[in-house]
């Protein structure tokens, strides 16, 4: 099996195999943390770094791990980075730690982290695994930031806690409470997938019609089973 290139991995994770839009992973946190831009930024940054370093670690010791105990090491390595991140957050950014509440700890079971460490890291060298984990996180971040940029103004009338609408909107009870509750995230994810997929299919069809451009790269191991 040949090692994929950095450019290929980047394109896959950001576009053709985007963890949220195509693989539909990490939806639980998509609903939960996208109500505020700042929370979303910190959370997705944490996911990117945890995925990157957990992938790196697991890829580094991949030849020592027996197949039947691999899950133990995946969870152990992921937990290590998540707890480390949480400790740092608690000590140096207690307000953020507080507003994120239990969601930081839940990165451990984030499907994207599990998916990349299960599918990509055991089959590839450490550096490209790090890059794969990181770009997966960035692909996740792109979508979530876009969602929070829609949800926060509608729900709270602010962006990154800076008011952008007149006071009558947020203070006068005219804000869209639905925008900060779970259903709106479902609507937004669905709309994003629709727009994104339509665009992708159109391009694919155009490419086929021309018969000049190469077909879509085959998905680099879509994590199956993990939710």
């Amino acid at each position: 099996m040949s090692t994929p290139t950095f450019g290929f991995v980047t394109k896959e994770n950001l576009r053709f195999n985007n963890p949220v839009l195509i693989q539909v992973l990490g939806i639980c946190s998509t609903l939960a943390v996208t109500t505020k831009v700042l929370n979303t930024l910190i959370m997705t940054l944490a996911v990117s770094l945890v995925t990157a370093f957990a992938s790196f670690t697991l890829s580094w010791i991949r030849n020592l791990i027996a197949r039947r105990v691999r899950m133990i090491f995946q969870v152990l390595a992921i937990t290590f980075y998540v707890v480390l991140f949480q400790l740092i957050l608690n000590a140096f950014a207690p307000e953020v730690a507080r507003s994120l509440g239990p969601y930081v700890g839940l990165i451990i079971t984030n499907c994207i982290v599990m998916g990349r460490t299960e599918s990509f890291a055991p089959a590839n060298p450490p550096l490209i695994s790090w890059w794969d984990g990181f770009t997966s996180g960035i692909g996740y971040m792109m979508v979530l930031l876009l969602m929070s940029l829609i949800r926060e103004p509608l729900g709270f009338g602010t962006i990154a806690d800076i008011p952008i609408f007149p006071k009558e909107f947020a203070g006068g009870g005219n804000n869209w409470t639905i925008a900060i509750m779970a259903p709106s995230a479902f609507f937004l994810v669905a709309i994003f997938i629709w727009v994104f997929k339509t665009d992708l299919l159109k391009k694919e069809a155009a490419a086929k019609a021309k018969k000049a451009a190469p077909p879509l790269p085959a998905g680099a191991a879509v994590a199956g089973g993990a939710r």
Partner: protein, 263 residues
């Protein structure tokens, strides 16, 4: 020697080593960051207790907040056996308290209970540290003397949606008016119930006048003297706050004031 990585021995030994290698740095990181986090919670406790008494206080002026907190009189309801044991930390104010005041003793302890004055502020630090993960803080009462008028405050814990909610509630000398309510601990949904921690929500409790020792939600669009605005989309958390104030804070503070009034 060739290692068979599928053998049980190798799996067990390797798992053990890997766990050790990963858990050791975490333990060290925890030990190193714990004092910083504890300091933060302690400062929050100072500032929020003072604010619940209607006294201005900010985390930016840590030393002032610490001094002001330490100058408050501090009381607690504890089992009589413990009060007798620890005479350098506690001095008994009233033995065998009953009714609403006995309710202020930590859940799970058995009576008879004594109302004691806390002589050593370390008791509170220890309780803060022990409850940092669960928020299940024992009830402490505080008294301050402002221009000859006394104000009373306490911290009260009750169930929220996901975990405990702990409030610091302060009242005037006859508990007819709330001086302030501050949220000391919550693990409610960020963005919904978690908004009880926002300044705007907490500010609306200053100068509320409970009717028959009860506060209530404001009806839509109106302001009542004993009412506060609930958070839209967070009914359970808002009700939890109301219940803690009505069922714990106000009756217990009233009983505490009645007890201390005789002195």
């Amino acid at each position: 020697m060739k290692i068979n990585k599928n053998s049980y021995i190798f799996s067990i030994v390797f798992t053990f080593i890997a766990t050790f290698v990963l858990v050791l740095p975490l333990t060290l990181a925890y030990t190193a960051t714990k004092p910083i986090a504890d300091n933060y919670w302690r400062l929050q406790h100072y500032v929020k207790t003072l604010r619940s008494l209607g006294l201005p206080s900010s985390a930016a002026q840590a030393q002032e907040a610490k001094n002001a907190f330490e100058s408050l009189d501090k009381y607690q309801v504890i089992p009589a056996s413990l009060a007798a044991q620890d005479s350098q930390d506690y001095s008994v104010v009233q033995a065998n308290v009953t009714g609403a005041l006995a309710q202020a003793a930590r859940a799970g302890l058995t009576g008879p209970f004594d109302l004691v004055q806390i002589k050593n502020v370390k008791v509170i630090f220890q309780a803060l540290q022990d409850s940092s993960a669960t928020g299940n803080l024992p009830t402490f009462f505080y008294i301050t003397n402002l221009n000859g008028q006394k104000r009373y405050a306490g911290n009260f814990t009750g169930p929220g949606l996901w975990g405990n909610v702990t409030l610091a509630v302060g009242v005037n000398q006859d508990s007819s008016q709330i001086e302030g309510v501050q949220v000391l601990y919550n693990v409610e949904t960020p963005g919904l119930g978690g908004r009880i921690n926002e300044k705007g929500f907490q500010a609306q409790f200053a100068n509320l006048t409970p009717i028959d020792g009860q506060v209530e939600f404001n009806p839509n669009g109106q302001k009542k003297p004993d009412g506060f605005d609930a958070i839209t989309g967070a009914t359970i958390t808002s009700t939890a706050v109301k219940d803690i104030i009505n069922n714990r804070a106000l009756p217990e503070l009233k009983a505490f004031i009645a007890q201390m009034g005789g002195m």
